[in-house]
């Protein structure tokens, strides 16, 4: 039987505030354990939370960027459960009245535009970090707790279950990450945990309106893991259904090394979190004017930029996608294109050797890039030479023109000097010349190459071509 795949994602994004969500401890990554803690984030008796306004601002921005309805009234709730990394034994979150609801995100799968609905987006606090004595939680005698991370602001984003393939899930998450990066609310690093994703997946017979039993997959630490784990689940669940078996509603964890999902031990009933309104925090009441103001200050978002690059700059989907996915390259492109540089030459440069060098060593000043493009256009150097100049630009503080002058890389254009080189090349290859004359036209390139070599690559190819034609005609 054929099955429809139904996937919904639950995403946590750590917000890039200086201080924590509910206290003034630093959020800096990588400090020694338990050095960024205070009575509030340790849950000491008597301590009280106070909401960081920047966290609210970032969450609202995220909601706006995901086309959500931002509610001017929202409320905090307590989610009660015991776990060693949870200092108060409850998490401050938003349950009944979330900050944002009813949004969507559009993105491309190949050439097809897709839209995934965002059910809700709300603010909550991060838990601490556990370090296990063994290789995993199950075979550890004890665990160690570090509360530095406890209380960092998070947004939880929940999608509707309208993702229909593992690949789509990955593409959605990549687009979401891009949006968060564009609006600058998070550094969205999966490896540092500032972007995390759990997935719910179920199968149903093709076309059936009845949803199948949902399985939750946790521990998805990379985009690849998300896609692979979902692919694995599709296979596993189809096999179970094919056998006439039933899918168990459960949580499974992704084992990266083994390449499969494993059932997480679960005892007894579903958890009862006993949510209730957080009495220590008054409800959040936002000024609609402030929300509108934030909306106006949102930067151009990835999809809009993609369309602009294609429509206004004539770039291909491939080129535009590159510039959108690497916003620093996109910004550079737009700045230089605005300054009147040739779009095609520019995007070729940025996507070529420049990309590799810039990733290793950081970007060049736009002015130096512009000058490099200009001296190629002017014919001061050849396209081939531009690569050497580019390498040099990353090493030297000099301008492209200064580099060319210092290195003596100006194009040889002196006709008499070049004619001598052409004549030498023809004289040195009588065999090739006669074969060319006999009709082997593909040997033309070989002859040009010989001249270029003699000129150490600096010869103006146009002049070389003309002279070669003349000299051969002369016979």
């Amino acid at each position: 039987m054929k099955y429809d795949v139904v996937i919904g994602l639950e995403i946590h994004v750590a917000l890039l505030t200086e201080s924590k969500f509910l206290c003034s401890c630093s959020t800096a990554f990588g400090a020694p354990p338990n050095t960024q803690c205070c009575p509030v984030c340790l849950g000491l008796p008597g301590s009280l939370p106070v909401v960081n306004e920047k966290a609210v601002e970032y969450a609202v921005k995220a909601g706006l960027a995901l086309n959500c309805q931002v509610h001017t009234f929202s409320r905090f709730d307590r989610k009660n459960y015991f776990y060693p990394d949870l200092p108060k034994a409850y998490q401050i979150t938003q349950d009944t009245y979330p900050l944002c609801t009813d949004g969507f995100l559009e993105y491309y799968i190949d050439d097809e535009l897709r839209c995934t609905a965002i059910t809700r987006l709300h603010l909550e606090e991060e838990a601490g970090k556990l370090i296990h004595s063994g290789s995993s939680i199950v075979d550890s005698e004890y665990s160690l707790v570090d509360y530095n991370r406890a209380g960092i602001p998070l947004i939880e984003i929940v999608t509707a279950p309208d993702i229909t393939s593992p690949r789509q899930a990955r593409l959605f998450l990549e687009q979401l990450r891009l949006v968060m990066r564009y609006i600058g609310v998070s550094d969205v690093k999966m490896e540092e945990g500032s972007l995390r994703c759990d997935a719910n997946i179920s199968l149903k017979p093709q076309g059936s309106p009845v949803l199948g039993t949902k399985v939750e997959i946790k521990n998805l630490n990379s985009f690849r893991a998300l896609e692979r784990a979902l692919e694995y689940e599709v296979k596993r669940q189809s096999a179970v259904l094919e056998r006439g078996g039933k899918i168990k509603q459960e949580s499974r964890t992704w084992d990266e090394r083994a390449g499969r999902t494993l059932s997480m031990r679960s005892k007894g009933d579903a958890p009862d979190y006993r949510y209730f309104p957080e009495p220590d925090l008054p409800p959040l009441q936002l000024d609609p004017a402030w929300v509108n103001c934030l909306k106006d200050t949102l930067p151009e978002l990835p999809l809009a930029r993609l369309r602009r690059l294609e429509e206004s700059y004539g770039l291909s989907r491939y080129e535009a996608t590159f510039l959108v996915n690497y916003p620093d390259f996109g910004d550079l492109f737009l700045e230089l294109a605005k300054a009147g540089e040739d779009n095609t030459a520019l995007v070729n440069l940025l996507m070529g050797d420049y990309a590799r060098l810039a990733r290793e060593q950081g970007h060049l000043a736009p002015g130096r890039i512009a000058e490099l493009l200009r001296i190629v256009a002017e014919g001061l150097i050849t396209h081939n030479q531009s690569k050497a100049v580019l390498e040099e630009l990353f090493r030297s503080p000099l301008s492209p023109r200064e580099i060319v002058r210092d290195k003596g890389w100006e194009v040889l254009r002196d006709a008499e000097q070049l004619r001598a080189m052409v004549q030498e090349a023809l004289a040195a290859n009588p065999d090739i010349v006669s074969r060319y004359r006999a009709g082997e036209e593909r040997l033309w390139g070989y002859l040009v190459g010989q001249v270029m070599r003699a000129a150490a690559g600096k010869a103006d190819p146009k002049v070389v071509n003309e002279l070669l034609k003349e000299e051969l005609a002369r016979g």
Partner: protein, 476 residues
């Protein structure tokens, strides 16, 4: 206190002498009373010496610089043991001061020690303290009330001039009433709760206990006002001791709710309160019978909300970061053993109730319903204050009961019958002595005022106080 402040100001008495006198009184009386869980003799003497040095330099931090104070033991004091009268915190030393403690220190008040309470402030008699009951200075066979029983008894027994307590459903006013002292439950949010170990955060308030209305007002002036560390205190005004003016009662509309004078009210208590009401009337107040019918639901509403919030607030005592731990091979068993051994019977009872009313299948019928009834109570109070300026009632249905007399928890909960409404509606309420019963036990009168009307409540309280003849002196 004005006298004490003047004596300190003129150098006729030193802070050190005051602290020594308090320590001496504690030594003589606390073996019986058991008001203090921790006496910080050394710390108090050091702070007193510093105060004396400041006075000598003419740099007193406040008019009350040097007057010692006692703190209920659910309020965090840096480096000074804070037990909440619970085994689970018997060796807990906070690393920070509650805002109210910080403010008292900034005003130069030496901290004499920490007073007894029902475990985590859950109770009305201090019988639920893990460290022994506090006895009533007027009759050691009787309770001092609770949960701020230690603070009330310490003031009544002359162990300390004044003290801080906390009030979630009557925990300042009821023991004040039982011990014959003055106690204020401030408007919700007017005093910072930062550092106060929570029982029910939507109801808890810190307030002063003292011998006189004026002293209570003075102590309140040191702690009131917005604190950036407590979001629920946002916008709360500070408080200054007013110029006392008996004329405020002229034309004052005094609401007298019939429901607070119904069956179950002790006749002597009723007589004393009505006598004070008549005195106010004679001085120009207008008594207006009003109805607060929702008070009938106050205790049930209160109980539901308190247990729910408490079950969540007390979850953090899991043996990971502080407090006592009972070792076990896995974390969940460790949590359960730690909490099972660390909490007393009443705390466990309330955690069980609270867990039940918050659990998914009961939330709507119990917790949500109680929240909505709370709204009805608030609305009725708001309507009442459209017609009257203050509401006067007895503080408690009876005077102090005997130790061990109330065995049934539900019976104990009824101690808050007249006081819980103020917490549920967030208004302020003052309890002050208005006479004695035939056994010589103090009777308390409660003056409720609208949000942030503490000044009016104190003014009226002072007039009532002046009209009440002083009763038998406390002998221990």
């Amino acid at each position: 206190m004005r006298e004490l402040a003047e004596l300190l100001q003129t150098g006729q008495v030193s802070s050190t002498e005051l602290v020594i006198a308090c320590l001496e009184q504690i030594k003589q009386t606390d073996g019986v009373i058991n008001a203090f869980l921790t006496v910080d003799e050394q710390g108090a003497l050091e702070q007193a010496a510093q105060s004396d040095a400041r006075r000598a330099r003419g740099e007193a931090l406040s008019p009350w610089d040097g007057i010692p104070v006692a703190i209920k033991d659910n309020i965090s004091t840096r480096g000074l043991r804070t037990t909440c009268a619970s085994r689970i915190l018997r060796n807990y030393h906070p690393v920070y001061d509650a805002t109210v403690v910080e403010r008292l220190k900034q005003a130069g008040l030496p901290i004499l020690g920490k007073t007894n309470l029902d475990e985590f402030a859950m109770g009305s008699s201090t019988e639920y303290s893990a460290f022994g009951v506090t006895k009533n200075p007027h009759d050691p066979a009787r309770v001092a009330g609770g949960s701020s029983g230690g603070s009330a008894a310490a003031v009544a027994a002359g162990q300390v001039p004044w003290a801080l307590g906390t009030d979630t459903g009557g925990s300042i006013r009821q023991p004040s009433s039982f011990c014959g002292v003055v106690g204020l439950k401030p408007t919700y949010g007017r005093v910072s709760r930062y550092g106060v170990v929570a029982l029910a955060p939507s109801l808890d308030q810190v307030g002063p206990l003292a011998k006189t209305v004026e002293e209570a007002a003075a102590l309140f002036s040191l702690i009131a006002g917005e604190d950036p560390r407590d979001a629920t205190s946002a916008g709360a005004p500070a408080f200054q001791v007013p110029r006392w003016n008996a004329a405020v009662v002229q034309g004052l509309r005094v609401g007298v709710p019939e429901e607070f004078f119904s069956s179950g009210l002790n006749a002597e208590v009723e007589a004393a309160v009505r006598r004070s009401l008549r005195t106010l009337e004679e001085q120009g107040a207008v008594l207006k019978p009003i109805s607060l019918a929702t008070n009938d639901y106050a205790i049930d509403t209160y109980l539901t909300l308190v247990t729910a919030e408490a079950s969540s607030c007390l979850a953090r005592f899991d043996g990971v970061r502080y407090g006592e731990r009972v070792a076990a091979p896995d974390a969940n068993t460790m949590f359960a053993k730690t909490r099972g051994a660390g909490f007393g019977a009443e705390v466990k009872r309330r955690i069980m109730l609270g867990t039940y009313v918050l659990s998914a299948s009961h939330y709507e019928a119990y917790y949500e319903q109680a929240q909505r009834v709370r709204t009805l109570i608030k609305l009725e109070i708001a309507r009442a204050f459209e017609q009257v300026d203050v509401i006067i009632t007895p503080t408690t249905p009876s005077t102090a009961f005997r130790i061990g007399e109330k065995r049934n928890p539900l019976e104990m909960y009824l101690s808050d019958l007249y006081t819980a409404t103020a917490n549920l509606s967030g208004i302020c309420a003052l309890s002050l002595p208005c006479g004695y019963d035939s056994q010589g036990l103090p009777i308390g009168l409660q003056i409720m005022g609208d949000h942030y009307q503490e000044e009016l409540v104190f003014q009226v309280g002072r007039v009532v106080e002046a009209s009440v003849e002083r009763g038998p002196k406390v002998e221990v």
